[in-house]
Point group: C2
Chain length 280, copies 2
């Protein structure tokens, strides 16, 4: 991964290299406390997040009218890395008319009876829709890998299947943005402790969360492997330094906005015979 150019942040600078340099990528070399999108003024950054959130509402309207694309935003990250918070901030101004989120949980018995992409496929956005995945099919190359339930061979197979699946989606007009919310182990500790200490958040806390935390290093390793292998031309991963919540929101909001701008959205042509009609 090239050194980020702080003077002019670009999503591409925060994407693992594809092709033959992929194997060189080291997650541990990405600083979770970096703030490349930040202006240096936190209040200003917060206002900027809100301004972009407003702009996203207008862009979503146009995205809907245009009708050519679907947009999938994938958020992955360790517990307490801020997936919920990012959704709340970035999509706080867009109405549920055009955006919805799917919080993927452990699969049901029926879902487990199918291949692991079956339920994911079902949750994909339709044309005109924006869907945000809160966790995703990438859990299926994280959890079983860390728990030793998936051989190396089967893991590689899944990477390929996921790449093929995402390519098919992309070829059929689904735009895919994948964000890995990158926090430090210490930051996670602080945030989990805050959950325990806050009576309005304590109910969310499961003993399992501490179990998962014990496997921090294994998860980082599993993330690194998937970032190396599934950051493709058609669906690249962007690593979001997320120790700062404001920076995390600003970076994600900016990239979503830039992506929508890049689609050159436009209103479709008038239906025949509508212009000039007088309604009686």
């Amino acid at each position: 991964m090239p050194k980020p150019r702080f003077q002019a942040p670009r999503a591409a600078d925060w994407q693992p290299p594809a092709g033959k340099h992929a194997a060189d990528f080291k997650l541990s070399e990405v600083d979770p406390a970096a703030t490349p999108w930040s202006s240096g003024d936190k209040e200003k950054d917060k206002q900027q997040v809100d301004a972009i959130a407003q702009e996203l509402d207008e862009l979503q309207n146009l995205f809907y009218a245009d009708g050519r694309y679907a947009l999938l935003v994938v958020l992955q990250g360790m517990d307490a890395s801020g997936k919920d918070g990012a959704i709340r901030a970035v999509f706080s101004r867009t109405s549920p008319l055009g955006v919805h989120s799917i919080p993927w949980k452990a699969p049901s018995e029926d879902e487990r009876a199918h291949d692991y992409l079956w339920r994911i496929h079902h949750g994909m956005p339709r044309a005109r829709e924006i869907v945000v995945f809160n966790r995703s099919h990438y859990e299926d190359v994280l959890v079983p890998v860390v728990n030793g339930k998936l051989t190396r061979e089967r893991t590689e197979e899944r990477y390929r299947q996921i790449n093929d699946f995402e390519r098919m989606l992309c070829e059929n007009a689904t735009v895919i943005l994948k964000f890995m919310l990158h926090i430090s182990s210490e930051e996670q500790r602080v945030r989990l402790q805050a959950r325990v200490d806050d009576p309005t958040k304590r109910w969310k806390f499961a003993a399992g969360d501490l179990e998962v935390r014990k496997h921090w290093r294994d998860y980082q390793k599993a993330y690194q492997a998937l970032l190396r292998t599934t950051s493709t031309e058609w669906a690249p991963w962007t690593i979001v330094p997320a120790n700062s919540k404001t920076h995390r929101n600003l970076m994600i909001a900016s990239i979503v906005r830039d992506t929508l701008h890049g689609l050159k959205l436009r209103y479709p042509p008038d239906p025949p015979g509508v212009a000039g009609v007088k309604v009686k």
Copy 2:
């Protein structure tokens, strides 16, 4: 329907009577230009809508945490009655984490191969979720009735089926709010004309919209019949005078908020052994 008491608006005053007085209800006697929820100051009303939208975001959090209920909000109304606009205004501040809307369109071939409630059932909110139906299963006792595709007997049968279905949902902890957005024929004319005249809205306009408008009276009759028959104790209809967009938003937002307050939501008890835990 009793004369609304303007001094203290209550949802109940805008619901068709249930029981033996149901047949007395006349939709034409409800003034679409009424503004019972309004303070008389439009700017103040708009600020109030926004304030309630903010409050709904907090209430949604608590609704999610509480976990005992699902909430279904049904919006029905003629073309241009403001269903999209209401969703936009009322749920403009709630994140897609907890609220999503389903715009029901004409059924697919697969959906038509099932009973008409099959796809509706699938779209129901889970516990903790708020789902807004933009149109609903009530289209199935409007469109075919107006088009003469459903006998009187079959129509009555559907009313009963819908009532039974909604009772089952309610008994299984889904709270149901049904809003009929009531506009005048003249107001619809003005709004449709505005769609034709606005190049950014023209693409939405279908020749079919004018066809449907020709059946205005038949639709009003079909609405009246369903309002008489499907406004139940467990899922009452509220008729929203909707010529004024601000009033429409204010009335719906207020009733959704009051309903959530009425549920006496609360954080669930701490999971065992969490309070006091030190995260390492």
